[in-house]
């Protein structure tokens, strides 16, 4: 294997932590590092979501790198509380602050901040990827904030992972149609798809409140949609509070069936007729286009859980997932990938230069991936379906979900149109 990475498939942990915090109402991500660690990721969010994001940074300079960043971190938290009165500050570490060895847990404890909750989140950039960064952040939120329940509620905790606002909306609509009350941890559906209405609120409306996170231990169960981005928090909730837990990424027919069954099992609610109809509409859409989709050879690049679920969905469409490529290396991904591809090539956390080599070698018809994959589709002359993060060479992708039956219809249409456009090129 090469030492040099050419065209990386992953970003670093801090951006995943920011992603998770954007879904908490009136929360401020505070990056404990150098200024590039906010300026650059903010642009990535701007491009993908077309939204304002505000991230604070402790602006570690040369002095702090020698003498430690405690002074900067304390001043940062005090300034943020005084100027923005957030409900929560998530302190996100970087390679810089972790290598210096700042004890952020100790500093935060010592600070004894009363006006806002302050949660330490460890995300050294030289470990894992954006996906594990999201996972760490969510686990930190749940472990720091959830309180031992004095009563139960009928809610379900849903941990969506690094998906789009549109996906979260699809999930919420399915749960609402079942009358299952829920806590989405964390909920970017409104915060990263915010309306333009004046006056602009100091924080975007929506997002999971700190109260809801505190109460999440009361829920009947937890479902992580992305095991790699939220699975650790689900495991914690199961272990500490003994709630039912499951991991299902509801992309495609069978995965959505399984998701709804799990919701039914945890809550005792029957699946309503409206969702059966929704399923029927997805099947109808798939039947309509099966002559175009069947037999196509697909290469799939995404974060691990989405990549696996997409591979299962394209199989339902009669395609053959000949390459399945995860942004983030993981043993679990490797195991599962073997079971969803029938002898296809598996790239476990390899870079996009390697993905391009694989696309070249495997006579691929259609490629699934983010904007960084667009040049591969062009060079290798294959149909291209944009998905994942970041997508910024086209607009609007964050608004529409690919999860659930309804999201499946949208994805089916997009896949087919990509094949049609490719045929007309």
């Amino acid at each position: 294997m090469r030492s040099v990475t050419i065209n990386p498939a992953k970003m670093c942990q801090p951006i995943g932590a920011m992603y998770a915090l954007f879904g908490v109402h009136a929360a401020v991500p505070l990056v404990h590092g150098s200024q590039g660690c906010t300026a650059y990721p903010m642009r990535m969010f701007n491009r993908h979501f077309g939204e304002l994001v505000q991230v604070a940074v402790s602006s570690l300079g040369e002095d702090a790198s020698v003498f430690g960043g405690k002074k900067n971190l304390m001043a940062s938290i005090e300034n943020i509380i005084a100027r923005r009165h957030p409900e929560l500050i998530g302190v996100i570490t970087t390679c810089l602050s972790e290598t210096i060895g700042d004890d952020i847990d100790g500093i935060i404890r010592e600070g004894n901040f009363e006006d806002s909750k302050v949660v330490p989140i460890h995300t050294p950039s030289y470990v894992g990827s954006h996906v594990t960064g999201y996972d760490n952040a969510l686990k930190a939120l749940v472990t720091s904030l959830s309180v031992e329940p004095d009563s139960d509620n009928a809610k379900l905790n849903i941990l969506p992972g690094m998906v789009n606002p549109g996906d979260v909306l699809e999930i919420k609509q399915m749960l609402d149609s079942m009358d299952v009350s829920h806590t989405i941890l964390s909920d970017i559906s409104e915060t990263l798809n915010a309306p333009l209405m004046l006056p602009k609120p100091p924080f975007p409306s929506g997002g999971t409140s700190v109260d809801e996170i505190e109460d999440c231990a009361k829920a009947q169960g937890v479902i992580a949609l992305c095991e790699h981005a939220g699975g650790s928090a689900a495991t914690f909730l199961k272990g500490k509070y003994g709630m039912a837990a499951d991991t299902i990424c509801p992309i495609g027919v069978a995965n959505t069936d399984r998701f709804l069954d799990a919701v039914g099992d945890m809550t005792g609610v029957e699946i309503p007729y409206s969702l059966e109809q929704g399923r029927g509409r997805l099947i109808d859409a798939m039947v309509d286009v099966h002559m175009k989709t069947c037999g196509k050879r697909a290469a799939i690049f995404a974060d691990p859980d989405v990549a696996l679920a997409l591979a299962e969905f394209v199989t339902e469409l009669g395609m053959e997932p000949v390459i399945i490529s995860s942004s983030t290396a993981s043993r679990k991904f490797l195991q599962k990938a073997k079971s969803v591809t029938d002898g296809g090539e598996i790239l476990n956390g390899r870079d996009l230069y390697e993905l391009q080599r694989a696309v070249k070698d495997n006579e691929v018809d259609i490629l699934f991936g983010n904007t960084k994959c667009a040049p591969i589709a062009k060079d290798e002359d294959v149909a291209f379906v944009r998905c994942g993060f970041p997508v910024y060479d086209r607009v609007g992708y964050h608004r529409y979900g690919i999860m659930g039956y309804h999201g499946g219809i949208y994805l089916t249409d997009r896949i087919t149109n990509a094949i049609l456009e490719w045929g007309e090129r």
Partner: protein, 462 residues
Amino acid sequence: MPLTLLKSDKAIPEREKHTYIKAASENILPLSNVQTTPGDFTERGCTYAGCLGVVCGPIKDVIHLVHGPIGCAYWTWGGGTRQNLSDNPGFHRKYCFSTDMQEDNIIFGGEDKLYESILEAHKEFPEAKGVFVYATCAIGLIGDDLKGVCKRAEEEIGIRVVSFNCEGFRGCSQSLGHHIANDTLFEKVVGTKEPEYLTDYDMNIIGDYNIQGDLWEIMPLFERMGIRILSTFTGNASVDDIAQAHRAKLNLMHCQRSTPYICKRMEEKYGIPVLKASLFGVEQTSKALRDVAAFFGLEDKAEEIIEEEVSKVAPKIEEYKTKFEGKRVFIYQGAPRAWHWVNMFRELGVETIAAATTFGHEDDYVKICERVNEGVLVLDNPNSLELEEILTDWKPDLFISGLKEKYLSYKLGVPFINGHSYEKGPYAVYSGFLNFARDVEKTLFAPVWGLIRRRKNAQRND
């Protein structure tokens, strides 16, 4: 009270020194080029961004290898959001190289991985004319010997391998990164190649990054005058162009924040005089052409070109001026564009009511203050909350800034132009000025602004 504390800054009174309302009676400049107030929601970036992101990234035929954890490389891939175009798109801006340092590399050192990475990258792209290696934060802390590794690798692969000590935590903004890039390129690249031939009219254009093709509008004007552009620093530049830059007769400096260092060193070592220019708007562009012409003795030719070009754009500019008369703009740029554009806007009938820079130094603020009227807000290193306050309370008709600030402006219902990477440029010289004016018109008069509803008695977050 020329120094002012904005409402949003009550908790951080040190910001008063950075916030100046111009008053002719007092000779004050806002404090600049100092550390950011921690946690103030700064828009600043890091030293690495200034070095690779701004100055070195546009160089089109070297492997830009980022030594560190993966994020830093990902952000500057393809120039990041910067639109520094080149005529080598099959390589430049398409590939991103990183050592992707892992935890054990941080503990045991990353020199071996770096060495291997240089060799492998060269093997994959043997046509590349060099490897530039950039140090990121963690590398500075663990103390990898970049120079030593690069020297060894250079001996092995036979093309230049240059290291840049541009760790993000150095300095207080991108600015130090510009300086590091200038010094390193001067010391390691400039003067290492002789041009095939020389003319009496050889000139370098220093400090233009060919954003959306600016240079491809700028260069022909000088070439028509009879001048040969020996080297551009660094828009659409080959590393070989920079290597022969020491033989020019004149350095024309455009971005006067990111490149005065190399101009000074070339003046000291090779005796190349420096001419400062603004290449935005009619008046400034004409002045730059005249200044260059005077240096080379090409005045007649310059006047011909100026007359021809101005006659093409002047009537349209007059039309725009009538449409824009009375509009007010808030300019927030990296540094020099904040003052380059005060005059350009004035030519369009738009007055500047506030001007700010991310990493300007004292000389940038001198130039801003020379150009703006009494009562204009001049702000150093503004943070997001200050920007919101200015956009809300000072009520500009137009905000011109970068991508991070774009959606703040939109969410506040304020028309916006991306001055960093442009909307649909190029924006430089005469032809670009028309593009610029067209984009200003589009955003100022877009019907959508009139559809926004303002809710009465709205409460916080309801």
